[in-house]
Amino acid sequence: MEEQKTPKISVWDLPDVPKGKLPPHLEIQRTRVLCTSDAPTHTENIRYSGAYASMGVDNSLQLEHFHDNFRLEVIRLNEDDMEFDMIGIDAALANALRRILIAELPTMAIEKVLIANNTSVIQDEVLAHRLGLIPLKVDPRMFEYMSENDVPNEKNTIVFKLHSRCERGSSRIKVLSNELQWLPRGSELALSTEKPAVDPTSRPRTYTSFNCSQDSLPEFSNNPIGPKHADIIIAKLGPGQEIELEAHAVKGMGKTHAKWSPVATAWYRMLPEVVLLQEVEGEKAEELVKKCPVKVFDIEDIGKVGRKRATVARPRSCTLCRECIRGDDWDKYVTLRRVKDHFICK
């Protein structure tokens, strides 16, 4: 039998393939991470500019394209935390921003601790370590970095003093962080190498040389420097024990030591997208709503018959636990995807 010759049409002239853009299944592969029950697929970003060259689609990114597509929305902003969305940005930039937030922003933290008296059960070095981790409420932009050879002066050091004792016969006391007093005039401990001064009116040389009191600087005159939270327990003292020390705080970055990291943590995740492939009705809808622990699904009633249908109400709170695709057959109803260029940052 003779085969019927069908006229050869190029794939691009077929009526349902959109020209100049990718066909929908490839567009999904390019912009979404598919999270199946075993592992996420299509996770890499197809950044290479010639990737879709054979289809005639230009994947390269120009600056104007970025300008047009980039959006930033702040969801929540308190004194202590913040959540915002970045849309249209690449994963490498979001990760770099996260790394920089954790490691490369400067803050002030206690670095040198001069201990005059410590008869508590906490060892000197453990006490110094704990003091270093206390967050201080001060703007690091007003200070400069101090290197090894610099003299500690009022532009690069903050001095705190802690003197606490527990009397004999009383019960144990806790040393809280609000007992750290700020000394705006600099250190009060005298350098021991100085010979006794001949002139009794001159001030003895101390560990820091402050030219003027930090109190007189306009930024600090009404808001004194202190620890951010007043209720951090530094040590516990039993009866008869005493701690007397002076702590110097300097400016540093998280890269050197984690005590200088300004954030408790910073993380980001991609926006989850939950898509129902088929209509889920009736009892299956009830089951689906019960399955999800964060209540992503919701029931809506359609028509007058009163049949229930499940809809996706809060896709943003999906934690990708994959409960909804566990079990037989649920794969056909629900797919989980993540939008590759929409990042929720906290």
């Binding site: 950044r47 600056l63 929540r76 970055m253 890269k255």
Partner: protein, 120 residues
Amino acid sequence: MNAPDRYERFVVPEGVAKVSYERDTKIINAASFTIEREDHTIGNIVRMQLHRDENVLFAGYKLPHPLKYKIIIRIHTTSQSSPMQAYNQAINDLDKELDHLKNAFEAELARHSGSQSRQY
């Protein structure tokens, strides 16, 4: 005990050039840039921006050793442009993108704190 000092991660010592450049003898239009005292934070971003350039055939970065703080970026281009040009262009574009990001962020923050009456 043998770990290097933490400030070595970002302090460039005297006499060491921050960026150095070596052309590849065997392949034309190919070069490696060695950047001292940097890590994935910069390397990944520059690599991503180089991928967006149409003239770049190959772009990659690596840290030869995690305790030696430097990165090597290798770039191959077509004959239309040179690795040096691609690298400069990538860094300038990144600069502009980050400026735009910063402006958008500050505008959004100002708008958000201006309308603090919204409850979340």
